[in-house]
């Protein structure tokens, strides 16, 4: 193996807190050689980002370090402020998670690229802009000239991330850190960015540190992988080895948690003959009202459509997955079905026609429950868990039903939380625990259908796995039907019976899971399938 470009040895990092020092990184040792891509995998709080900051020498004052971070032999810990400024962007580039926040909203994209060239390569502004154009062309932007002049809000997420990447590669650095560069993007865009990365990487042979929480993704692009947990590198090695023969328990847990389409979690199949539980008939949703002045000036209606004539039905005990990128109208539908949006068309539930909020009576509400994406906003911060859970009991519980502490306790244990949590406030719970409480609230009324709106996308892989497992388990116990909304195709393919694909407000496909791999599919569904990397072990 060639001499490493980046070499981290025995690196320790602690942050000073009122309670004393807390360890962020513990004896980290890594090295990346030219042309190598090291995938650094870990869940939130594992310290992977801290490591990135440490390498970039961008740590808060409260940081205390030990060990060495060498860039082609030069120890960055000992480097002066000036040296560091010279190194940043020139010898070490960085690509950030979210292009919409990592670009200055008030400067033209071109300027933000050019300034690096001016700073590090001493070009004149004119030269810099000229080269900037080439760079943008290089990262596959169709209209580089215009793009240079545009402001961030005038470009799409993908375009912006390409600009960021172009900037990172601008000075042919020896090493680039990619901090979850695709997490903020839509599946398909993410795919394209990923391809771009591979291409550029191969071409420049830059030593890359690719940080991600997504094992599947890393397995696609990394040559070697390191798993970080609580600031410790628990395992590292060639991708194939690690994924095929994980040594560390945590790695195994992580791998197990990765959703795999081929690994179904649902045994049951709903009886196709049964009368559908819910039928959605030509439901359309429009947002925004006609602006008074706009119409006065005879301008076109500025409303936009959230759903266009969507029709689908859910069988009792069926899990219907709904996938699509953000803004495709998944949640809009969910809101319509729970009376949070007014809609056109109708919903048939247990034979009753429902055309609007007014028709959603106690029975319907009891039987159709919803769980939201963000647990911290879906639980009232000023109510104890007890109050939160007791509401549905009071609302829907049969006259004789118990609403006492015991009942609350049961609900909590149902979702594998200690009954003692009843006295806690939401902010005293972890994200996963909050989501469990939300689930408990939804199941309190023994509903027939639960709408899960991206309920796992805010959670870490392992937590997500356990939540999904919980859902599956509840489904087994109560035969509840789910409308499982997500952008994660792999996940949904594990649990759904049928999958509905939404695109810009339209329902483009509604097929059985098994039919996904073969059969005639809408081109969008295809690209979606292609975009999703199949986890490594599938390959191994």
């Amino acid at each position: 193996m060639a001499t490493p470009i980046l070499d981290i040895a025995g690196y320790h990092l602690d942050y000073a807190t009122p309670a004393g020092f807390t360890r962020a990184l513990d004896d980290v040792a890594l090295s990346i050689a030219k042309g190598e891509v090291l995938g650094l995998v870990g869940e939130s709080g594992s310290g992977k980002t801290s490591l990135a900051w440490a390498i970039m020498r961008h740590l808060p004052k409260s940081a205390r370090e030990a060990g060495a971070i060498r860039l082609t032999g030069q120890d960055l810990l000992k480097a002066s402020e000036a040296d560091i400024e010279a190194i940043r962007g020139k010898r070490i580039g960085m690509v950030f998670q979210d292009p919409s926040t990592s670009l200055n909203p008030t400067l033209p994209l071109g300027e933000q690229l050019a300034e690096v060239l001016v700073r590090h390569r001493g070009l004149t502004r004119k030269q810099a802009w000229a080269e900037g154009e080439e760079r943008l062309a290089r990262v596959g932007l169709k209209i580089p000239k215009q793009m240079m002049r545009r402001y961030p809000h005038e470009a799409s997420g993908g375009e912006k991330q390409r600009v960021v990447i172009a900037t990172a590669f601008a000075c042919q650095p020896e090493c680039i850190i990619f901090d979850e560069p695709t997490t903020a993007l839509d599946v398909i865009t993410a795919r394209q960015i990923l391809d771009l990365f591979k291409e550029l990487q191969a071409e420049t042979g830059v030593a890359s540190l690719y940080i991600s929480h997504d094992l599947a993704l890393v397995s696609q692009i990394a040559t070697t992988v390191a798993v970080i947990h609580r600031g410790k590198i628990v395992e590292r090695g060639a991708v194939a080895d690690v994924f095929a023969r994980p040594q560390d328990a945590y790695t195994r847990k992580l791998l197990a948690a990765v959703p795999r389409p081929d690994h179904r979690l649902i045994g049951t199949t709903p009886d196709k003959a049964a009368r559908p539980l819910v039928e959605v008939e030509k439901v359309s949703v429009h947002y925004g009202r006609k602006p008074f002045l706009g119409s006065l000036l005879g301008r076109a209606n500025t409303q936009f459509t959230g759903n266009r004539e969507v029709s689908l039905s859910v069988l009792p005990g069926e899990i219907l997955g709904i996938v699509g990128e953000s803004g495709s109208g998944k949640s809009t539908l969910a809101k319509a079905m729970t009376g949070l949006n007014r809609f056109e068309g109708e919903i048939r539930f247990a034979g009753r026609r429902i055309t609007g909020l007014g028709d959603m009576d106690r029975a319907y509400r009891r039987d159709v429950q919803i769980i939201f994406q963000h647990p911290d906003s879906s639980l009232n911060p000023r109510q104890r868990i007890r109050e939160i859970l007791s509401r549905p009991l009071e609302l829907y519980g049969e006259p004789g039903a118990r609403k006492d502490a015991a009942a609350i306790g049961e609900l909590l244990e149902q979702v594998r939380l200690p009954a003692s949590y009843a006295d806690r406030y939401p902010h005293q719970l972890s994200g996963g625990e909050k989501q469990r409480v939300a689930i408990a609230r939804a199941f309190a009324s023994r509903p027939k259908l639960v709408i899960c709106d991206e309920i796992t996308s805010a959670l870490d892989v392992s937590v997500q796995a356990s939540v999904v497992e919980l859902l599956v388990d509840l489904q087994k116990r109560f035969g509840t039907a789910y409308l499982f909304i997500t952008h994660d195709l792999n996940l949904v393919r594990q649990i759904a019976h049928r999958i509905a694909v939404m695109y810009r407000g339209d329902l483009v496909d509604l097929v059985d899971v098994t039919a996904l791999t073969d059969g005639t599919l809408h081109p969008y569904t295809r690209s979606l399938l292609d975009a999703v990397p199949a986890p490594a072990t599938a390959a191994a």
């Binding site: 009202r289 008074f292 809101k335 729970t338 009376g339 949070l340 959603m360 106690r362 509400r365 429950q369 919803i370 939201f372 994406q373 963000h374 906003s377 879906s378 639980l379 009232n380 911060p381 000023r382 109510q383 509401r391 549905p392 609302l395 609230r441």
Partner: protein, 274 residues
């Protein structure tokens, strides 16, 4: 609440503000008992005395003890200000919540009108109202309350709208809760906190505004010992005894500073971002 109080004490402004305001409220509550003299007792031979062991802050044009007058005046000044703010907040909160609740065109109409009213400087509005109602502390309170209402309406509305967007409110709606329950149990508890912050800061303004009104001769009336009035009376005797004008001025400033600090402290404490 306890915990956010602790957080507030940790921030320097919060702690300092709490101390100052506490001190002030203490004076308001039992200040008069500490007053060494009768605030209205005149002493022809003791006029314009500088601070001394006998009169800690000196005496005024009637030979009245300034310290005693300040201690008594605290009520006139602070209580009135708090009263005015509370009143204004109440009115504003109601308007704001209604507006947020109605939404749509009516919301827009209400808010535009509120904006319109806000384009009259609050001092001017207060001046006009006091002239309309006649000069007295109570009318000054009303005037300030009315002048504050629009601003509070705006604040309340924006907060209410923000809360309205939260998923726990959606959940409640989807659950089929009554409007009353949603507003009362789900929304209000979350709306109150920011409003309290806004209120605290506005008390500072109210103190200043009220004092200013009295200063312009439209608030409290002689021989009251309201601080703004004391300043405006003292101006005429500025050259016979600067102390007369210094003390009440400082007192007004101190109260304003106290409430400003407290407000900022509260804001930081109640806002998770910090």
């Amino acid at each position: 609440m306890i915990e956010s109080l602790r957080r507030m004490l940790r921030s320097p402004q919060g702690a300092l503000g709490l101390v100052i305001v506490g001190l002030i409220l203490f004076v308001v509550a039992i200040g008069p008992w500490f007053a060494p003299y009768d605030p209205e007792k005149m002493a022809p031979l003791m006029r314009y005395k500088p601070p001394s062991a006998q009169f800690w802050l000196g005496t005024d044009q009637y030979g009245r003890d300034i310290l005693s007058r300040l201690l008594h005046g605290a009520r006139a000044t602070v209580v009135m200000a708090v009263l005015a703010t509370a009143l204004g907040t109440l009115v504003g909160a109601v308007i704001g919540t209604i507006s947020a609740f109605l939404g749509g065109r009516s919301d827009e109409a209400i808010m535009r009108t509120v904006d319109a009213i806000m384009s009259i400087p609050s001092l001017l509005l207060a001046l006009l109202i006091v002239n309309l109602l006649g000069k007295s502390s109570l009318n000054a309170v009303l005037a300030i309350a009315l002048a504050f209402a629009p601003g509070m309406a705006r604040v309340t509305r924006s907060v209410a709208l923000a809360v309205r967007k939260q998923d726990y409110v959606n959940a409640a709606i989807a659950r089929g809760e009554s409007a009353a329950f949603i507003v009362g149990r789900e929304m209000l508890p979350n709306v109150v906190a920011p409003i309290i912050v806004e209120m605290t800061i506005r008390v500072a303004f109210a103190v200043m505004l009220f004092a200013t009104l009295s200063f312009l001769g439209l608030g409290a009336q002689p021989p009251a010992s309201e601080w703004g009035l004391m300043v405006s009376e003292a101006r005429r005797f500025m050259h016979l005894s600067p102390w007369m004008i210094l003390w009440p001025s400082l007192a007004v400033a101190l109260v304003a500073i106290g409430f400003n600090l407290l407000g900022d402290g509260l804001r930081d404490a109640l806002n998770p971002r910090s």
